[in-house]
């Protein structure tokens, strides 16, 4: 349903048509804010990860977070959970567990107790692949309702935004994002490599793990709130760097802002491009992200 601009402004101030007020205040506004928060979280997470891993292709979903969160959500659906709080929590728990599994795997795979960041990244990919396989198995024998819910969730969407969800996501992002901004200079140093970081007084291992965990926390929170929304965490830090930012404190903040704008824009497109059908938000961001990334690749090649 479309609401005229003046209606939106009135509704935000609590005046005018009660239907408009309900639509704007309880449906559209939380949806926009949720989209912005998801974009901010993924952007900040990606910027911190790319810096600390020294890898321009690193992104939050590579940590196994997305796979783990999807497993959590699918398991919740499979057990007949319908309450959104349950699914959200299950997804969050799944995402965080996957990260801890990845950490454990990297310790086994790495040299002794000193698994480096690269091993960590590979471990994340492996855990993610395993999680995806587990989802396929679970969905193969799922009921249609479970299947639809799980699929919708895996395609990513801000449509189910509620104020409760917005609040919970905002809290997580303030906490983990704020911590990343607090330790941002360590990421500057980490981006020089582990030996160089150590020579500048940063415990590369501990600091790297901290960034990894905080980035994963951000990703898990966004995934549990809106499903899988690809390419934001990968592309947004590159846009922020293109703005000339290098130091990670401004870079992380800028990536959060750019991410917020992109996801809100993509969600607007998802909702309005082919009415009355809503396109999956995750697909829109990927459709926008892939060409951008190819251009980026051409420039750096």
């Amino acid at each position: 349903m479309s609401v005229p601009l003046i209606g939106v402004i009135d509704a935000l101030r609590g005046r005018g048509d009660p239907t408009f007020i309900a639509i704007v205040r309880d449906l559209r506004l939380p949806r926009v804010i949720l989209g912005a928060l998801v974009g901010a979280g993924l952007g900040a997470s990606g910027a911190a990860l790319q810096g600390s891993l020294r890898n321009p292709l690193a992104e939050p979903y590579l940590l196994g977070v997305s796979g783990g969160a999807a497993v959590g959500a699918v398991v919740a659906y499979a057990f007949g959970a319908t309450g959104e709080a349950v699914v959200t929590l299950a997804a969050f728990a799944g995402g965080i567990s996957a990260v801890f599994v990845a950490l454990a795997v990297s310790r086994v795979g790495g040299r002794g107790a000193r698994g480096d960041m690269r091993t960590l990244l590979i471990a994340g990919v492996i855990v993610g692949a395993f999680a995806n396989a587990a989802i396929m198995v679970a969905l193969a024998r799922a009921e249609p309702n479970t299947l639809r819910g799980a699929l919708w969730w895996m395609m990513g969407s801000a449509a189910d935004a509620t104020w409760e969800r917005v609040g919970w996501l905002a809290g997580s992002i303030m906490l983990a994002g704020g911590a990343l901004v607090y330790w941002a200079r360590e990421i500057d140093v980490l981006s020089l490599g582990e030996d160089a970081a150590a020579s500048l007084g940063v415990d590369a291992e501990r600091s790297g793990r901290r960034v990894f965990l905080l980035a994963a926390l951000l990703a898990a929170a966004t995934v549990s709130a809106a499903g899988l929304i690809g390419f934001i965490g990968l592309v947004v830090p590159h846009i922020a760097r293109r703005l000339g930012l290098r130091a990670h404190r401004p870079l992380i903040v800028a990536a959060a802002l750019v991410g917020a704008i992109l996801v809100v824009g993509a969600d607007l497109a998802a909702r309005t491009v082919a009415p009355p059908t809503e396109l999956p938000l995750g697909a829109i961001t990927a459709l926008l992200g892939v060409p951008f990334f190819l251009v980026q690749l051409r420039r750096t090649a």
């Binding site: 790319q50 810096g51 020294r54 890898n55 321009p56 040299r111 002794g112 607090y182 330790w183 941002a184 200079r185 360590e186 500057d188 140093v189 981006s191 020089l192 490599g193 582990e194 030996d195 160089a196 150590a198 020579s199 500048l200 007084g201 940063v202 415990d203 590369a204 760097r241 290098r246 130091a247």
Partner: protein
């Protein structure tokens, strides 16, 4: 002053200790070179100094205090290290890159003050990269990049400086320029420890050479004392001749071609001792 005392470093699953009872000192005002074949333990000593290797016995001291009693931050104010390899994942301006050397003094939040800016400028000047300050790190040649990395270490303003193979991949002129720079830094009062394969250059520039073999000190002393043909042959397992550098008379190493008149089985082969 850096002190290495009876240092033993071991890696899991290695058949021998990477560093096996090594002792030497790196005094201020001198250029001390650490040389030896691949896998002789050079880089492990650097890692032990950075608290990044497991010290089994002995230790590394800075001004007679064990490095393990320092925090990482305290350590970074006393010794700056230019690690062997380093690639900047995201290009940044040289000035900003060198300014990262101030991190040990700034910490997470303190804004750079006047003396931080001065330290960065001085470091750029000492390393001879003033002109590069506004360039991007991915536009530098190999030699320029190495000097910029040294500038970053100098910006730390530490009394000791450690460099791990700073001239790998550099041509003769750039290599010489780096050695001249390190020599002048030592003259200015720094304790400089240089890990290098370039025995001939080391012989011309270093005050002391510590020659490692299989984790042990094979020889240490002035270049003339260390650069003996029999010793180098035994360590590198390759026939060599030691002559004199025609310019300044420093000992110079000339590895020989394989003697063609010998049968294959008697041809010397370099040992294949890889790093753990």
């Amino acid at each position: 002053m850096i002190g290495i005392a009876d240092l033993v470093v071991s890696y899991a699953q290695a058949r021998r200790n990477a560093v096996d009872g090594v002792s030497f000192t790196v005094p201020r005002g001198q250029l001390t070179a650490l040389a030896g074949p691949n896998g002789s333990g050079k880089s492990s000593i650097v890692r032990a100094l950075l608290r990044r290797a497991d010290i089994v016995r002995g230790g590394v001291t800075l001004d007679d205090r064990d490095v393990r009693t320092f925090s990482y931050g305290e350590l970074a104010k006393l010794v700056a290290v230019v690690p062997q390899r380093e690639e900047a994942a995201f290009p940044t301006r040289v000035h900003e890159y060198v300014a990262l050397g101030r991190y040990p003094h700034l910490g997470l939040w303190r804004a750079p003050a006047e003396d931080d800016a001065r330290a960065v400028d001085e470091a750029l000047g000492q390393a001879g990269v003033n002109d590069l300050a506004s360039r991007n790190t991915d536009e530098l040649s190999g030699g320029e990049w190495q000097r910029v990395r040294i500038a970053r270490a100098l910006a730390q303003k530490t009394p000791a400086l450690v460099l791990d193979e700073p001239t790998t991949f550099l041509d003769v002129a750039h290599e010489m320029a780096i050695f001249e720079l390190l020599s002048s830094l030592a003259r200015s009062g720094l304790a400089v420890l240089l890990v290098s394969h370039q025995l001939n250059l080391v012989a011309r520039f270093a005050d002391t050479i510590v020659l490692l073999d299989e984790g042990k000190v094979a020889s240490s002393g002035s270049p003339a004392e260390v650069m003996k043909a029999e010793r180098l042959e035994a360590i590198y397992r390759w026939p060599v001749v030691v002559t004199r550098d025609p310019a300044i008379g420093a000992p110079a190493l000339v590895p020989l071609r394989r003697p063609r008149n010998l049968l294959d089985h008697s041809i010397p082969t370099p040992s294949t001792r890889d790093k753990p």
